[in-house]
């Protein structure tokens, strides 16, 4: 833990969230909170509802019950782009980049919600529109430097190897300067070196930008090293919540991972 980092008050509060698709229950009465500057991990076996949880937080899914409060604003239903506007950004389990665009353009989309000029100004590429493009380009370049992807700036993302695509996706999320960053398995499918790089970036983001992070990850050593607190889900229910050490020694968690029948 870095000395300068101070974990603050809760920034996100999940309260009794339940979600079902047709008859299939994905989440059942899940509650937990995420504090400012905190790295919060969600773990659990496959199908435990981890990704569904992220999708509820940023409004891709609307829960049937329960509320999500972000920065003290409680809500039942929010659309993804509103969530983004409020300061929530995320990456996806299966990379969700815009494949027809370059790395630079992909990251620039992360700043779209901060752009104000009208389409007429943009059509003329004059005055505010041009100024805005350049200002945001400068911001995006900071992110590019931060994640060390200068060499692929103008490459179409479809041509990049998997590991770099993951990094570009993170860059796109960071470009929005989010207060809360949701990372859905950021290290899935990476080799050791790439995982170390990505872990360093995650820590740096948390440390230098003060971003709160919710992280889904299967690699336990990564989870235990990075996170401040861990939520454990199993079959859509929360079965444990606490520091990595507490969770590691929790009977229920061990059972869930070993597949003991309920």
């Amino acid at each position: 833990m870095t000395a300068g980092r101070k974990i603050g008050r809760p920034i996100l509060e999940i309260d009794g969230v339940s979600l079902a698709f047709g008859g299939v229950v994905a989440l059942q009465g899940v509650s937990f909170d995420v504090r400012e500057h905190e790295i919060r991990a969600i773990i659990g076996p496959n199908g435990a509802g981890k990704s569904s949880m992220l999708n509820v937080i940023n409004g891709v899914y609307h829960p049937q019950q329960g509320t999500v409060a972000f920065k003290g604003r409680r809500r039942h239903r929010v659309d993804p782009h509103e969530a983004a506007r409020q300061g929530i950004a995320r990456t996806f389990q299966n990379i969700a980049l815009f494949r027809g665009m370059t790395v630079l353009d992909n990251i620039m989309t992360g700043r779209n919600l901060k752009m104000k000029s009208s389409f007429l100004q943009q059509a003329l590429y004059w005055g505010p529109a041009k100024r805005e493009e350049l200002e945001h380009r400068a911001k995006v370049e900071e992110v590019i430097d931060f994640l060390e992807i200068q060499h692929i700036r103008k490459t179409p993302v479809g041509r990049l190897p998997y590991g770099l695509q993951k990094r570009v996706e993170l860059a796109r999320a960071l470009a929005a300067e989010p207060e809360l960053l949701l990372l859905d398995e950021p290290m899935a499918g990476m080799n050791l070196e790439e995982k170390q790089d990505m872990s360093r970036f995650v820590l740096d983001v948390n440390d230098q930008m003060g971003t709160s992070i919710v992280l889904i990850e299967h690699d336990m050593s990564v989870v235990m090293d990075l996170s401040d607190r861990v939520v454990v889900l199993d079959y859509g229910r929360k079965i444990a919540d606490g520091t990595p050490d507490e969770v590691r020694n929790n009977r229920g968690v061990i059972d869930a991972y070993l597949g003991v029948a309920h």
Binding site: F92, A96, R111, A129, E133
Partner: protein, 368 residues
């Protein structure tokens, strides 16, 4: 090989974001503009050259329709190529533009031609928004069906509501005279210059939009709509804006089609077949490319002309008449085959081929 870029360094983001960052491209485009705006009209005015080439035919029969179709293809490309919403109703929006411009001229005394064109585009944009509304719930060819509805509905409405065509029989309208800033545009070369100017400005505007935040929003929606929403792109605004701007372009193209090309049009002239032709233009030219709209339009406009000329020369040199309909059927087959060919071999069309050639020249003598 031609692209000697070493030493063309940029010291500002503005320089890096400019329209043509490579000096050679800037020179090339300047030459092109000089040729089409000054060179070609001057040549047409030069008796020695004008005697050898039938410029009136070239302007009215080739260049003007090419430019107008380029504009329509540009409109469709904004919607389909950039925003990813397939439309089969392009011709309908052109029809709206043509009839709207006609009515503005007819019913508003002293209406300047250019203003009526812009208003025609706006009307087309509004109609476009209406038919774009279903895109908020449906995608892919379901949406294509919605645009087909637009296609049939608009043509039907223009035929049925006599007021729109000033109660002429079967909806035929004759476009008013073109007067721009008090200056009569009454010769082929003047019409050519007017259309060229409008198309150039609108192409530039389109290029500017697709390289700004609105263009990125369109492409994001096209490439992965869920992710687009998640990064904060409002789906409804983005899609409807694509429909509106696309229809605006098609509307202006339609107005030009009536005013600067045919002079007399009827609703039946804006049938589904025309929509398909414009769709073919962007498939052949390049989906998601401004340049592709022009290349595709050139190809689809020139191909039948080329086929006719070849047939005529075959008939002349061999002295027999080809069966009626042969050329048009061959053209049909060729169009079909080309579409399949491009979709299979080069889904990004001629523009992509041009891009590859350019890449090769930039890397010469290396292959990659």
């Amino acid at each position: 090989m031609l692209y000697r870029e070493a030493g063309q360094f940029k010291t500002t983001y503005a320089a890096d974001q400019q329209l043509f960052p490579i000096r050679q491209d800037r020179i090339g485009i300047a030459i092109l503009l000089a040729v089409v705006f000054v060179g070609v009209p001057l040549a047409a005015e030069t008796p020695a050259i004008a005697g050898a080439i039938d410029f009136n035919y070239w302007f009215s029969g080739v260049l003007v329709p090419f430019l107008i179709f380029s504009l329509a293809a540009l409109g469709l490309n904004i919607l389909t190529g950039y925003a990813g919403q397939l439309s089969l109703g392009t011709a309908a929006f052109m029809a709206v533009g043509a009839f709207a411009a006609y009515n503005f001229e007819l019913r508003v005394p002293g209406m300047p031609t250019l203003a009526s064109f812009i208003l025609a585009g706006v009307v087309a944009a509004l109609i476009g928004i209406v038919f774009g509304l279903p895109s908020l719930r449906i995608k892919g060819f379901y949406l294509a069906v919605a645009t087909l509805a637009a296609q049939f509905f608009v043509v039907w409405a223009l035929t049925k509501f006599g007021w729109l065509s000033n109660y002429s029989s079967s909806g035929v309208i004759t476009a008013q005279k073109l007067v721009v800033f008090g200056y009569a545009v009454d010769t082929p070369v003047k019409r050519y210059l007017l259309v060229l100017a409008i198309v150039s400005v609108m192409a530039l505007a389109a290029k500017n939009m697709v390289r700004s935040s609105i263009g990125r929003a369109w492409m994001a929606v096209r490439d992965m709509d869920v992710a687009a929403e998640v990064v904060g792109i409002p789906m409804m605004k983005t899609k409807l804006l694509a429909f509106a701007i696309s229809s605006f372009y098609c509307g202006v193209a339609g107005a030009l089609y009536a005013f600067a090309y045919l002079g007399t049009v009827e609703p039946a002239g804006f049938e589904l077949d025309l929509s398909f032709r414009i769709l073919f233009m962007i498939i052949v030219g390049g989906v998601g490319s401004i340049l592709g709209s022009f290349l595709g339009a050139a190809f689809i406009v020139l191909l039948p002309i080329f086929m006719d000329l070849s047939a005529a020369s075959i008939e002349r040199s061999f002295g027999f008449a080809l069966p009626a309909g042969l050329v048009s059927n061959l053209t049909l087959i060729l169009f079909g085959a080309l579409i399949i060919f491009f979709l299979v071999v080069e889904p990004l069309g001629l523009a992509r081929l041009w891009q590859i050639a350019k890449e090769k020249l930039r890397l010469w003598p290396f292959p990659h």
